[in-house]
């Protein structure tokens, strides 16, 4: 019997934004295996033009509803680099704390609400409310905590209000921070249960040699700023992101694609872990070991696990940051900012991978030209190539059906946690 498979997913579900999967196998031969972004393009880079630096973080946040804190911080950092502003230490700590909150919130949303249903063979979390109430309770609790962390530090989970060029404008009250610290400590047990749950899932055994790009941690597992590194050995400075990303336009996609040493590369939790595993918190490293995550891991499905490991890491880090914050006097949290003509680049590890904002300012502090390279833009080509290889490996067997392959490919895309409206910014 000849193998014929047809998968045509219009607007893949449980991902953020609109993307299509198209696979055609005819007589055992792959005719087509595509992952395409069809989301309506949004032209943020154009909207940034002529905007004043004081408004830029607010606008940048609106690129993405899930990683708005990253976009905001990245854009503010680019601006601070352009104006050569150094922010006060407390401000940096608060920003990082908010960033941890976002990482936790975004990863949990993905792992528990979007990816997990596949492992329970359910179309969504909704049936799980009845079937697995204990899992849902944990998910809700953890997510609630991460939201509260962001609310307290950033003023709001989606679209932060406390960050401005020069520092932060809002210092959370000590008693709120202390309350959060206790909650964070308690949440570690919940995370342990989630980790145990994940160790019971079987992830597809799929390996494709991939280049991984992320920030390079010096002393700490990296989240905000620093130099860039790829698992193939390329290193660049923050401002030299262009030779690292090499964006190009694909005619089928409203999102751009990028490449480095190979035809594509990957960013995200797995990339961060692969490139910085030695810096992760020891407790998180334990979880990684238990779930079989070792650098350099080339199985994209393991991104879910890497996200979970990072959750453990950021909870520990957040506790440490809160301890430091409550013990010291906040002092000044805004540096003086004088706009200057010039360019600046900000690189921030958004939950889904490394994110760049690059602005050119005139001397009044208005943007002349903007460029943003977002994680999903960088992952798209890689997803596309992964998919081809996945179909090649699993798709050409007799047992394979349209439905099974559709699920497998959908799970592949989901494991990257793509943020599509972001990618057509």
């Amino acid at each position: 019997m000849k193998i014929n498979i047809n998968v045509d997913v219009h607007h893949l579900t449980r991902v953020e934004g609109h993307g299509n999967i198209k696979i055609q196998v005819k007589d055992g031969e792959i005719k087509e295996a595509r992952w395409d972004i069809v989301e309506t393009p949004r032209f943020f880079e154009v909207m940034f033009k002529n905007k004043h630096y004081t408004t830029i973080g607010i606008l940048a946040a609106r690129i993405c509803g899930i990683c708005s804190i990253s976009h905001c911080l990245c854009s503010i950092r680019a601006t601070e680099n352009a104006f050569k502003v150094t922010i006060p230490e407390t401000a940096a700590k608060l920003r990082l704390l908010a960033k941890h909150g976002e990482t936790l919130q975004s990863h949990l949303l993905h792992v528990l609400f979007l990816a997990a249903p596949d492992f329970f063979n359910e179309p969504s979390v909704l049936p799980l409310i009845e079937k697995k109430p204990e899992v849902i309770a944990i998910a809700a609790r953890l997510k609630g905590l991460s939201n509260r962390l962001c609310d307290t530090v950033a003023g709001r989970t989606t679209h932060p209000v406390a960050f401005q060029v020069g520092g932060v404008t809002m210092v959370p009250q000590k008693r709120h921070l202390l309350g959060l610290r206790d909650e964070l400590k308690r949440s570690l047990d919940d995370l342990q249960i989630v980790a145990d749950l994940f160790s019971s899932f079987t992830l597809p055994n799929f390996i494709r040699e991939t280049e991984f790009v992320s920030l390079k941690g010096e002393k700490e597992y990296p989240f905000i700023g620093g130099s860039l590194i790829s698992s193939d050995g390329v290193e660049q400075k923050e401002q030299d992101y262009r030779p690292m990303t090499n964006e190009y336009v694909d005619k089928n996609n409203t999102s751009k694609w990028s490449k480095l040493s190979r035809e594509s590369y990957a960013v995200g939790a797995l990339a961060r872990f692969n490139n910085n595993a030695q810096l992760i918190h020891p407790k998180a490293a334990e979880v990684a070991a238990k779930l079989g995550l070792k650098p350099v891991c080339h199985n994209p499905f393991m991104n879910n696990v890497a996200q979970l490991v990072e959750c453990v890491h950021v909870v520990h880090e957040a506790i440490r940051l809160i301890d430091e914050l409550v013990e010291s006097d906040p002092g000044e949290t805004m540096a003086k900012v004088t706009p200057k003509a010039g360019e600046g680049v900000g690189a921030v590890e958004a939950p889904r991978g490394i994110l760049f904002h690059h602005y050119k300012y005139d001397k009044t502090g208005r943007i002349l030209k903007a460029n943003c390279v977002v994680p999903t833009t960088q992952n798209n080509a890689n997803i596309h190539h992964d998919m081809k290889s996945l179909v090649n490996k699993f798709g050409l067997t007799k047992e394979m059906t349209d439905e099974k392959l559709e699920l497998l490919c959908s799970m592949l895309v989901r494991s990257y946690d793509p943020c599509i409206s972001c990618s057509v910014h």
Binding site: R14, T40, G65, S124, I129, A154, C422
Partner: protein, 252 residues
């Protein structure tokens, strides 16, 4: 609750997304203390971001995002035909949102700048109500989950839904924020509809008017005050245009 002998409805809800950041949809999954109750109060038949199932049988369509491509116009028209109630969720759906800023540029040139020689299809951004009649608007960037919950309560018990008529200042005062004008910054609070609990003034960036005008705002007096406090027309216009919620209000 079965009360007054009124049977609660279990409305079938479908969530659709158009051009936007999907942050408002995300709010639907927020507020964990009531999330499970929220999800069981309604029957979600279509919610691409959270579920793989989708059906064309729904009473209420919650539409997020603005319209910025011709195929979106067609999708919307179809939604209107199916749904009994169309809810515009968030500032993008209600007013166009930040996407509207795009309309100030020449689309051809913009396309060339971003995509080079492979331009992508795009049209000027329009709010949902420009295309189809909208029954209920929940503005906000992002929307407040409390307001969404309140909407659901109202739908379940079939009673009218109302947004606050008063401006953000009331809520701003009620959370003890020092007025931003006092510390030399601008804020659209006095003319913007409350309901968000004033996070932006509390966060120190002032209100940007994402929820659109309050009922009968006193533009004339407000603009005069803003000018008197030393802000320029440009700054004011920039704020008013940011979320596209103040339409063609004339600042002078």
């Amino acid at each position: 609750m079965k009360y007054l002998g009124i049977e609660p409805q279990k409305p079938k809800i479908a969530v659709f997304d158009f051009t936007g950041c999907e942050g408002c949809q995300l709010q639907l999954l927020n507020k964990e203390e009531t999330l499970a109750d929220f999800l069981s109060a309604v029957e979600i038949v279509c919610f691409r971001e959270a579920s793989s199932l989708c059906s064309d049988d729904y009473d209420i369509a919650i539409v997020e995002g603005a319209v910025s491509r011709n195929d979106e116009v067609k999708r919307l028209e179809k939604i209107r035909e199916t749904a009994k109630v169309v809810v515009a969720l968030g500032s993008c759906a209600c007013f166009g949102g930040v996407n509207r800023l795009k309309n100030e540029f020449d689309l051809k040139a913009a396309n060339k700048e971003v995509y080079g020689k492979d331009p992508k299809e795009t049209i000027n951004v329009r709010p949902v109500k420009d295309i189809i009649p909208v029954d209920i608007e929940i503005p906000g960037c992002p929307v407040s989950k409390a307001e969404v919950e309140s909407l659901i309560c109202h739908v379940v018990w079939d009673s009218p839904f109302q947004l606050p008529v008063y401006p953000v200042c009331v809520e701003c005062k009620q959370r003890f924020t020092t007025c931003l004008f006092d510390i030399g910054q601008m804020c659209l609070g006095p003319i913007t509809r409350a309901g968000c609990n004033a996070p932006c003034p509390a966060g120190g960036i002032g209100c940007w008017g994402c929820r659109g005008p309050a009922v009968e705002p006193n533009y004339k007096s407000f603009f005069a005050i803003v000018k008197e406090k030393g802000f320029s027309d440009i700054e004011l216009k920039e704020r008013l245009n940011f979320f596209g919620a103040f339409g063609e209000v004339n600042v002078s």
